[in-house]
């Protein structure tokens, strides 16, 4: 390759190719996966990393899974020094205390060799519907230790120099509730990583590994420069925000609060100080450090224009997260219910950033995240794991109403089709409606909440569910005089008779044929004081 090929234009061409490869990996993954949570809800991501472990390109699925794989890869690179890594290896990690998120998120990495040298890594993270543990679906806000949360993979070789480590696959199969789907999904992740490897090798063959590395470095540098240029326009003040959970993951625990201070520091970086946040909890709504970073990346990216991706953004953010807090817990605190707190963290950060960038200010959105994982046998004796997640109201903006019924912030999960629910599971969804009046009042109203009613058609079912923002102090906040959104709730109407019964916000429930469970999400906050309308 001539020197001319390392010019900025070539680098831009190579950078576009890297983004394309990450996208191609994700296509390979979702098209061949089995669990609805990957194939329909897109709860996964793929990424490419340079030889030093920095993410240089990623696919664009849900933000909650984005920008955190660097942490796991760092742990893997520490555990497996360069001379212990061979072409054809695949390494799996999900340990929340080694850079992982929660245990159902398996991260798989494969090294990329070109011209005999390690040029980078290909990686995939995917949420598996069950990885074993105390409850079906693994996730329960009531877990108190990570040991209740299924298999833990501390960065071990799933495939060694191209040879599958059958013992690991057997172990997974013996420990999870839907082994066929889980093992197939692991294969889908491996196929995605292999595709990334292959494509990056082709790119290196064509342009040379040095040009590819230079292109990747340039993307990181340009994105970081763009972010700093945006921060430079923001006022030199400290924005403060806080928000609390319903409780501490269990009703008897005091509401956990997140407190943040955000300012542009003397280096032109964004200092995000979460020191005021409450301590870790004996429940599972603690957030592993990598997920805390993912929430911050999401929030900041919403306020910075022109980024090609999230890569490089982390270099411009200085996060202070005290060890032992709910956002940086210590082993063995439970973390499976972390997403509730991640959404609340995103809400608090968006509040703080709205103060710094008022033209983009937005009222509070739903972080209730009503979710259920119910296990039921259908009348043919087939065991099914049924899962669904409900969107809620988006916050109102300075110039328009909030969005009705959306999956907010770091989520972007599709609602399960009622027809799919009844075709494939012993459940009937009786209604799915917007909740009138649930959005906070204001000059612009908050988005409406949603209510969905599920009737059990099978003989029996049991499982976990959780929902936030059921307490008055935790509802989506109005902004600039706008009203708060309406709270979320879970209820059950037993077929055997009786009135509709309110359930605790997080729990484990047993149901019988004909029972009707209802989830209600929260409405978004309003913006600006409501004014009398001129007819």
């Amino acid at each position: 390759m001539s020197r001319r090929d390392a010019d900025p234009v070539t680098q831009e061409v190579v950078a576009a190719a890297l983004r394309g490869i990450a996208e191609e990996m994700s296509i390979v993954e979702y098209r061949s996966s089995f669990s609805p949570i990957i194939r329909e809800m897109f709860d996964f991501n793929c990424g490419l990393f340079d030889a030093g472990g920095a993410m240089v390109a990623h696919s664009e699925q849900i933000p909650a899974q984005l920008g955190l794989m660097e942490f796991a890869l760092a742990a893997i690179r520490e555990r497996w020094p360069r001379d212990a890594i061979a072409a054809g290896d695949a390494i799996v990690l999900n340990d929340p205390y080694m850079g992982g998120t929660h245990t159902p998120d398996l991260q798989i990495f494969t090294p990329i060799f070109a011209a005999g040298r390690l040029v980078g890594w290909s990686g995939s993270i995917a949420h598996h519907i069950d990885i074993g543990g105390r409850v079906p679906g693994t996730v329960s806000a009531h877990n108190t230790e990570v040991f209740q949360e299924g298999l833990i993979f501390p960065g071990i070789k799933l495939v060694e120099a191209g040879v599958r480590n059958d013992a690991v696959f057997d172990l997974i199969g013996a420990n999870v509730r839907d082994p066929a789907a889980t093992l197939s999904d692991v294969d889908a992740q491996l196929a995605a990583c292999r595709r990334g490897e292959e494509r990056v090798r082709e790119l290196c063959d064509r342009y040379g590994p040095d040009v590819v590395a230079a292109a990747a470095a340039r993307v990181l540098a340009v994105n970081a420069a763009r972010a700093r240029a945006a921060y430079a326009e923001w006022p030199a003040v400290t924005a403060r925000a806080e928000g609390a959970m319903d409780d501490g993951g269990k009703p008897e625990l005091a509401p956990a609060a997140i407190r943040v201070e955000v300012r542009v520091d003397a280096d032109g970086d964004l200092a995000i100080d979460l020191s005021g946040t409450d301590g870790e909890l004996p429940s599972s709504i603690n957030v592993p450090l990598s997920s805390t970073h993912a929430a911050a990346l999401f929030a900041v990216r919403c306020f910075v224009d022109g980024l090609s991706q999230s890569v490089g953004l982390a270099r411009t953010m200085k996060l202070t997260v005290p060890e032992g807090s709910v956002l940086n817990p210590r082993r063995p605190a439970g973390v499976s219910g972390r997403h509730l707190t991640v959404q609340r963290l995103a809400d608090v950060l968006v509040d703080a950033l709205s103060q710094l960038v008022p033209e983009r200010a937005i009222a509070g959105s739903q972080v209730a995240f009503p979710a259920l994982v119910f296990q039921a046998d259908d009348d043919a004796g087939r065991r099914t794991l049924f899962t669904d997640i409900l969107g809620g109201g988006g916050g109102a903006r300075r110039d328009r109403d909030g969005d009705d019924a959306i999956d907010t912030y770091t989520g972007n999960i599709a609602l399960l089709s009622a027809e799919v629910a009844e075709l494939e599971y012993p459940w009937r969804i009786e209604s799915t409606r917007l909740v009138e009046g649930s959005g906070g009042a204001g000059r612009f109203r908050g988005g409406a909440a949603m209510r969905r009613d599920y009737r059990l058609l099978g003989a029996r079912a049991e499982g976990t569910y959780y929902v936030e923002q059921t307490a008055a102090h935790a509802v989506p906040a109005g902004r600039d005089g706008g009203g708060d959104g309406a709270p979320a709730a879970v209820t059950v109407l037993r077929a055997g008779g009786g009135a509709e019964e309110r359930l605790p916000s997080k729990g484990y429930v047993h149901l019988a044929r004909g029972d009707l469970v209802s989830f209600l999400s929260s409405g978004g906050g309003g913006y600006g004081a409501a004014q009398p309308r001129v007819v």
Binding site: V9, I27, I413
Partner: protein, 683 residues
């Protein structure tokens, strides 16, 4: 005497026409579109075409028409005041959608805009279970009350989507009958007719889109028939559908949602048929115009279809040619940001003001300007009737917009624009192939559109594509496609079953019902069994997957061997696509498909083509900037290239509707059809 046949494609800016006269000779035509009155403009175009062929409009025997009338109505929001009737509990189905945000990092993004607002969505009691049995009887009174409210609200069309109507039509049909009695003259669209597949939101939205388009498209079809008749053309017009087949205007007016991608589909058919004529059954059609590049995959002479699409943010579940539209065209604007990053598109100078080189006041550097600066488009060259290439304006635009900010010479700046544009297109093309399980290297590239043939060699190099086809008239591909299309109807039926639990006879009976419906549609266009065919496909998946693969079914009647062959084909394709066979081995059928094709005698003509000229035509030369310097390229005129002429890059070939760039390493010949067949040396 052969029948006089016309294809007329009306796009946003240009109307393309092609006519095969009674001697079998082809004439093509490009006119500006009459945007003020599309029906009048189309009828005028028909008359003009006939006139150019020295014929009266009354002598036209067959007219096929591609139209953007449905697409424009959607994009411009000129939609009917429609109502929706749903199963009780699901009146918000359009409002809620999938609950996903279109732009993840844009908290201020505008909200979804349902096709039918909430106050015109009505719920009726009555529900079918997933197996089609009646869980709750239908309440006719609810429908009557809804109809009364609709009357008060001035509703112009109604969509009906009840749960599980794809399993059993009876509730939807009953609702439809009541509405028609209560609201005479108001068209009613049933979801079981338009989109009989599971997933209520996508079915509801497709049905709603059909309803909101019905009055407008119906009006257009009637106006066109009247205008054409006034000019003496009395033959019925066939309309191009998104699936790449034509249907009678009457049928198209009943299912306007099927017209949503009419224009791009016609061009793909044109590319596919012309590739087939030169012995390329597997092709990527690449149609690059002023604002977009449309790409489609052709496999075994047939364009790949997809069963869901999105148009202007609205999901549409309807079989349609799988066209990928990339925001890259001749008018795509190149810009350098504060951080020294060059981007090309998706912003476009469009046709007004257009590229700087058009001299109509455009100052932004565009892809076309880069072609001018690098000498591919010659200074002073006339494009169409009103444009002359202004090289100085192009140089100034590229210099100011790209070269100076990047510290490059103007030629280097122009070359950079073309590299980025090609890289973007290659990326999109690769992703689209992979997502459909194909490798671009296995295809020939068919270059169409005004800009396609200028990019084809370099795009093919980028993707390691070995062969190129440049049809004789790349600029009117859609009009030619219309002449080459058959009548086509696609029917499907959701039919979720595990293969192990299916009896072949049961499957065959279900397919028989589809075949009957297909035959009925073919009869509407006057096609009996001799002039038509019906083929079948199955959407299959492993139990638990959500993404299907579609495999052909060999024949009816279905027996165990036919079913086993389909399963084997599914397994083979899955393995080829994803490199593994899952631990789950149960296979399922998801959807049954029938394709009805009616022959309309499409497809032969003679070219006016030039003489079999020798390579002496290459005596003229042109300086073209490539690889960091000016190089001598042969300058040829397409009209001079008769069949059999040998070609070798570097060369620039000019013709009325485009310019073909042959870079070094590409050689080939002129085919008898006038198409250029090119191959990359050493591949």
């Amino acid at each position: 005497m052969s029948p006089v046949r016309v294809g007329i494609d009306v796009g946003g800016t240009f109307t393309d026409g092609a006519l095969v006269d009674d001697d079998g000779r082809l004439r093509v035509l490009k006119l500006p579109t009459d945007r003020a009155d599309l029906a009048r403009g189309t009828a005028d175009g028909l008359a003009e075409l006939a006139d150019r062929g020295g014929l009266a409009a009354a002598s036209l025997d067959y007219v096929a028409h591609g139209t953007t009338v449905a697409t424009n109505a959607l994009v411009e929001g000129r939609l009917a005041r429609a109502a929706l009737v749903t199963t009780a509990g699901f009146g918000d189905v359009l409002e809620i959608g999938t609950q996903q945000r279109p732009r993840l990092y844009d908290l201020g993004a505008p909200a979804r805009r349902p096709l039918i607002p909430r106050d015109r969505c009505f719920e009726v009691r009555g529900r079918l279970a997933a197996d089609g049995s009646e869980a709750t009887p239908l309440e006719p009174e609810d429908v009557v009350l809804a109809a009364q409210a609709m009357r008060g609200a001035g509703v112009e069309a109604v969509a009906v989507m009840l749960l599980f109507s794809f399993v059993d039509r009876r509730h939807e049909e009953a609702v439809g009958a009541i509405l028609e009695a209560e609201l005479p003259g108001v068209p009613v669209t049933l979801s079981c007719d338009v989109a009989p597949e599971f997933r209520e939101y996508h079915r509801a939205n497709t049905t709603a889109l059909n309803a909101v388009l019905l009055p407008l498209v119906g009006g257009y079809v009637r106006a066109l028939a009247a205008a054409a008749s006034e000019r003496g053309a009395r033959v019925p017009v066939h309309l191009m559908q998104s699936n790449g087949g034509v249907s009678t205007a009457g049928r198209a007016a009943e299912q306007p949602v099927g017209l949503i991608a009419s224009g791009p589909a016609a061009a793909v058919i044109g590319g596919a048929r012309q590739a087939a004529a030169v012995g390329e059954p597997d092709a990527l059609t690449f149609d690059m115009g002023g604002t977009t590049a449309d790409v489609a995959i052709v496999l075994g002479n047939e364009p790949l279809q997809r069963f869901q699409g999105e148009h202007d943010g609205q999901p549409v579940n309807l079989p349609q040619i799988d066209v990928l539209s990339i925001g890259a065209g001749g008018g795509s604007i190149a810009a350098v940001d504060d951080f020294g990053t060059l981007s090309v598109g998706p912003g476009s100078a469009g046709s007004d003001p257009g590229p700087a080189a058009y001299g109509h006041g455009g100052t932004a550097a565009t892809v076309t300007d880069a072609h001018v600066v690098t000498g591919v488009l010659a200074a002073g060259r006339r494009l169409g009737e009103s444009l002359t290439i202004d090289r100085e304006a192009a140089v100034a635009a590229v210099d100011r917009g790209v070269a100076v900010p990047l510290g490059l010479t103007v030629e280097e700046g122009a070359a950079a624009i073309l590299r980025i544009a090609n890289a973007n297109m290659a990326q999109a093309l690769r992703a689209t192939s992979v997502a459909r399980g194909h490798d671009p290297r296995d295809f020939a590239l068919v270059a169409m559109g005004g800009a396609g043939p200028m990019h084809a060699c370099e795009l093919a190099d980028e993707l390691a594509i070995p062969r190129l086809v440049v049809p004789r008239h790349p600029g009117v591909g859609a009009a030619l496609g219309l002449l080459l299309s058959d009548v086509r109807h696609d029917l499907r039926q959701s039919w979720l079953r595990q293969v192990a639990a299916i009896s072949p006879a049961e499957l065959d009976a279900e397919l028989g019902r589809l075949q009957q419906r297909a035959r009925a549609l073919l009869e509407q266009s006057g096609h009996d069994e001799r002039a038509s065919s019906v083929s079948f496909e199955l959407d299959m998946r492993y139990a638990g997957q959500a993404y299907n693969l579609t495999v052909p079914l060999q024949r009816r009647p279905v027996d165990a061997a036919v079913l086993a062959a389909a399963v084997a084909e599914f397994e083979r394709r899955h393995r080829a696509l994803y490199s593994y066979t899952p631990a789950v081995s149960a296979t399922e059928i998801v959807t049954l498909r029938a394709h009805a094709a009616g022959d309309v005698g499409s497809g032969r003509w003679e070219e006016d083509g030039g003489e079999a000229a020798g390579p002496g035509a290459g005596a003229r030369q042109r300086q073209v900037w490539r690889d960091g310097g000016w190089h001598r390229f042969a300058a040829l005129g397409r009209d001079e290239l008769g069949p059999g002429t040998a070609l070798a890059g570097p060369a620039v070939i000019e013709q009325e509707d485009t310019t073909v760039l042959l870079t070094p390493g590409w050689t080939g010949t002129v085919h008898a059809s006038g198409a250029l067949l090119l191959a990359r040396e050493g591949r």
